[in-house]
Symmetry: C2
Subunit: 220 residues, 2 copies
DNA sequence: ACCTGAACACCGTTCAAGT
DNA sequence: ACCTGAACACCGTTCAAGT
């Protein structure tokens, strides 16, 4: 119970990541975070500027986990590896895509932008011009973030295996859907029990990359 | 100032959509919404169950705006039209993708799911099996939502033309980026001024659809 | 049937005061 | 240098009371 060392920024961020992992973004409040650290809420402001600073710090840490792809790989493979690395890191910590999407975090650091730099480098190497790179980057990053955000939320996505909450939600969909009004969706929902979100993401990513290869300007 | 007719659900939803359009999701509070309607916050509960009910109603209305694609069109074209329709409707009302991503809305109505049903129908027609449809649907819907959420937020996306806020943010990126550490990203940021988010989305969508066509099981 | 005021349990953040 | 208590301006929602 006795605190020898004082708090510091890193400890705050670690506790924030843990709390967000348990309670989600809406459960991550300055007051609850302080309580988890055995301190009053106002003490946190000695180590971070405000809540956005915490979310920036978290996003930064998580994006820094993404291992850079081997530069010797062909560009399409580098995109695959980097996008998957982003997906995995962000999916381990869904607070991050959520706080980025809601504009509560905005980590403009080298570490955080490194994975994007890798994607951009691969796309330039593929032969796209500035506009093409911007569009293709929007496609890849949009797919990564959209897949995570939709699979974290309940809308329009199959459940993860063992994820009871999502499973129930999917079942409720199946119950509420009028098969006459939504015949195809009904077929999909009844025919799809356990699915692995990451496997589904990789499949969608491979489809996008196949399209990128087909759109490469330099191909004959 | 004198209110003749009493409030009703539709009026509440209309006002909520307008308020969210002006102030964003974080500006849409029960108290502010009530004030905009010239009423006390607690009156709203006579017409909607709670805030989630409002967000469901909003999402429902906006998704119902998506016009169904002509069933006579080839499957790839139907996907293109429907996905673009979703993008346009959701982009006019960014509260909707935001409240879906944060799980505050969950509209499981026929109207809201109709566009997804169209996508699923087109994918079955293309020849995908259940898993393939689920994966391809995840790709298309992930791209739609991710593109909107990233373009609405400031992270990793070029600014819309005339969108001062984003423009400034992009400029700040350009200022803060270390060209030696993020050479490719730096090249992209300095070489990209005005871009149209919708045009970029369509381009990314076409790339994904090209990949879908190439992945179709029934092709020779 | 519809609206309201007071209240409860929360937020992020500031500021003056403590050690 | 770090922590705290009280306060301010907010939230969503409940409940009893008004018309």
């Amino acid at each position: 119970m006795v605190r020898r060392e004082p708090l510091n920024r890193e400890k705050v961020l670690t506790a924030a990541l843990a709390l967000a992992g348990e309670e989600g973004l809406e459960g991550l409040s300055m007051r609850r975070l302080a309580k988890a650290l055995g301190v009053e809420a106002m003490s946190l402001y000695n180590h971070v500027a405000n809540k956005s600073d915490i979310l920036d710090g978290i996003a930064n840490r998580v994006l820094a986990e993404v291992r850079p792809a081997d530069p010797a790989l062909p560009w399409a493979e580098r995109i695959r590896v980097t996008a998957l690395g982003m997906y995995q890191a962000l999916r381990r910590h869904p607070v991050v895509p959520l706080s980025l999407a809601t504009d509560q975090a905005n980590p403009a650091t080298t570490q955080a932008l490194r994975p994007l730099d890798d994607l951009v480098g691969a796309l330039y190497e593929a032969g796209f011009d500035d506009a093409g790179v911007r569009q293709a980057l929007g496609g890849v990053s949009g797919l990564v973030f959209g897949s995570i955000l939709l699979s974290t939320a309940g809308f329009a996505r199959p459940p993860a295996p063992g994820d009871v909450e999502h499973h129930e939600q999917w079942d409720e969909y199946a119950r509420r859907i009028d098969p006459d009004e939504l015949p195809h969706f009904n077929r999909l929902v009844t025919g799809n029990r356990d699915a692995d979100p990451e496997e589904d993401f990789v499949r969608a990513l491979d489809i996008l990359i196949a399209g990128l290869i087909a759109s490469t300007p330099s191909r004959t």
